[in-house]
């Protein structure tokens, strides 16, 4: 599985091959916005030296694996632009904990991936570097906001990439690109060095082509970090331990109201039901749950997320880092013009909306109500997990949509309706491919587990991976590997 550890190629050759592949396809797909060959080759040489010195047994399973990082994560030796004009020239002066941990596991940092500006979006169309294209169909979006990481993995440029998920920004692009996309439990992975947008919702996670790689990545990046006080203090766990275990006796519930929702693509629904049937055949006990307050989740989410974002991004003022408007007449003019020039339309909309939510006279009507509605959304999950181990839902209502298809912001926001409730509650969830549509686009299924039960989440995903046996590849990848 790992060509470097198998001795099929050196780590340096692996980096060469990765950049050759990226050179061939990135112009078209636009998954990477910056490449970091100096870092990748330095990491590769270290791996090769250790293998040569006979220390191969000391290397972990991810040693010599090329990886990509979403461009909202700091990595010394690269820029961190959040795909915004504001930070177009921002050079990292420290490295994010999750990034460092993945590099410490021996991976090869290939570059930074495209995203919606400041992670505000569900299609990667708001990136200042232009949209990423879906490797399965170049007329379709890869989803977002972590669309670059998703496309990089789907196009097999790298086998693993990190992303961040505030309302679905890992799982939705995972669904659109046929990749295994994990949003761990809130607090499972440190966010230090990852540009915070909505601090009560943000979580770092991964894209991979297999459930096993997903588990190995979580092994590497999870754990307490003194620089993110929210990060959970828990004993380290081996998330690969249960991957081969039977799901016999596992209590699995389908979210009835999601599967009966208007606008759910019948092909997606059928593939989910096929997955559930496969779990039942393997001995899982199947039931149904309802998450009735999910109906209010998008409203709740857009109040809380924009409010927190408006507060978080107030620090982008043109004083200490980033862009600064020139020839301004006073300090207020400097703020006004710096922020107008630095932010794109979606970022401005969300920051202004969030400011409104927190402003005098509106706090009680919106923000306070949203925090209380959030309690109800969370309680729905707590009730469900009192009786079940895993909840099954769609990740998205449709397969990848076309560029420009969602012009008005609300329609775009509603595309996250099955992913957002998970962030509000803070539980863990994973999206994985469940087949291919008649149009040749990936279908997907979302699995949700209780807090800190990623081991069972990944166990269930591994069982489904065996039954779905999803081996299709985007056409240009299939051609080169044929």
């Amino acid at each position: 599985m790992n060509p470097v550890l198998n001795g099929d190629m050196t780590a340096r050759e692996c980096v060469d091959a990765t950049y050759t592949e990226i050179d061939a396809h990135n112009k078209e797909i636009n998954a990477f916005v910056e490449l970091t060959p100096d870092l990748a080759y330095a990491a590769a040489d270290e791996i090769d030296a250790r293998i040569k010195a006979g220390q191969k047994d000391e290397l972990g399973p991810l040693a010599g694996v090329p990886v990509g990082f979403k461009d909202n994560m700091n990595l010394i030796g690269s820029k961190m632009t959040c795909c915004s004009n504001f930070l177009k020239d921002f050079e990292s002066v420290y490295t994010a904990t999750a990034v460092q941990r993945l590099i410490d596991a021996g991976t090869l940092p290939i570059g930074k991936t495209n995203m919606d500006e400041f992670a505000f979006g569900s299609s990667t169309e708001t990136s200042v570097f232009g949209p990423t294209k879906n490797p399965w169909n170049l007329e379709r979006v890869p989803g977002g906001s972590s669309g670059g990481s998703a496309a990089a993995v789907a196009a097999r440029m790298v086998p693993i990439a990190l992303g961040s998920d505030t309302g679905g920004s890992i799982r939705q692009p995972g669904a659109f690109t046929g990749t295994v996309a994990l949003k761990p439990t809130y607090s499972r992975v440190s966010r230090f060095g990852v540009t915070g947008v909505s601090s009560s919702l943000d979580q770092v996670g991964s894209f991979a082509t297999t459930v096993k790689d997903t588990a190995l990545t979580l092994n590497a990046i999870s754990g307490h970090d003194r620089f993110d006080t929210m990060s959970a203090k828990r004993d380290s766990e081996d998330f690969t331990a249960k991957l081969d275990s039977s799901v016999k006796g596992l209590r699995v519930a389908v979210v009835k109201d999601y599967l009966e929702a208007d606008g759910l693509d019948p092909e997606i629904k059928a593939s989910i039901l096929a997955g559930v049937a496969a779990l039942e055949t393997q001995g899982a006990q199947i039931g149904e749950v309802s998450l009735p307050h999910s109906e209010y989740a998008i409203s709740t989410y857009y109040i809380i997320m924009t409010a927190e974002a408006s507060s978080n991004l107030a620090r982008l003022d043109g004083i200490r880092y980033g862009a600064r408007a020139q020839d301004t007449k006073d300090v207020v003019d400097l703020y006004l013009r710096t922020r107008a020039e630095g932010f794109g339309p979606e970022t401005r909309r969300r920051l202004i909306m969030g400011t409104y939510m927190l402003s005098a006279g509106h706090y009680d009507k919106y923000f306070d109500r949203a925090l209380r509605a959030r309690t109800l959304v969370k309680q729905d999950f707590e009730k469900a997990f009192a009786d079940y181990d895993i909840i099954v839902a769609p990740t998205t209502a449709t397969t990848a949509f076309e560029f420009g298809a969602k012009q008005d912001p609300l329609t775009m926001y509603l595309s996250d309706r099955f992913t957002v409730p998970v962030n509000l509650a803070g539980v863990a969830a994973l999206s994985m491919p469940s087949g291919l549509s008649q149009e040749g686009l990936p279908l997907s299924i979302q699995l949700i587990s209780n807090y800190y039960d990623e081991a069972t989440l990944l166990q269930t995903a591994a069982a489904l991976e065996r039954s779905y046996d999803f081996t299709e590849l985007p056409s240009h990848v299939a051609e080169t590997t044929a």
Partner: protein, 100 residues
Amino acid sequence: MSLTIEEVKHVAMLARIGLTDEEIETLQREFDIIFKHIDTLAELDLEGVEPTSRPLPVLNITRADEIVEPLGIEKALKNAPAREGSAFQVPRIVAAGGDA
């Protein structure tokens, strides 16, 4: 509820984002649609429901005050839009000759 043009202007000012009249009008139209959806929250009976400000009940996290390597002036100023010596250069906020 809808926001008036004046309200959108006011909030944009609070957010310190300078917009043109045309941009304010676009935003007002978009907010109209978004708020119509968000206002469905008013349907919920939230009587007696406690607020959740974060998913996990974590309070007052403390840790030992250990000294770690500081960022240092050069790194801190690396991305400064303007600097003077070891300081961020900023526009004048107090009028020249003023004693405020």
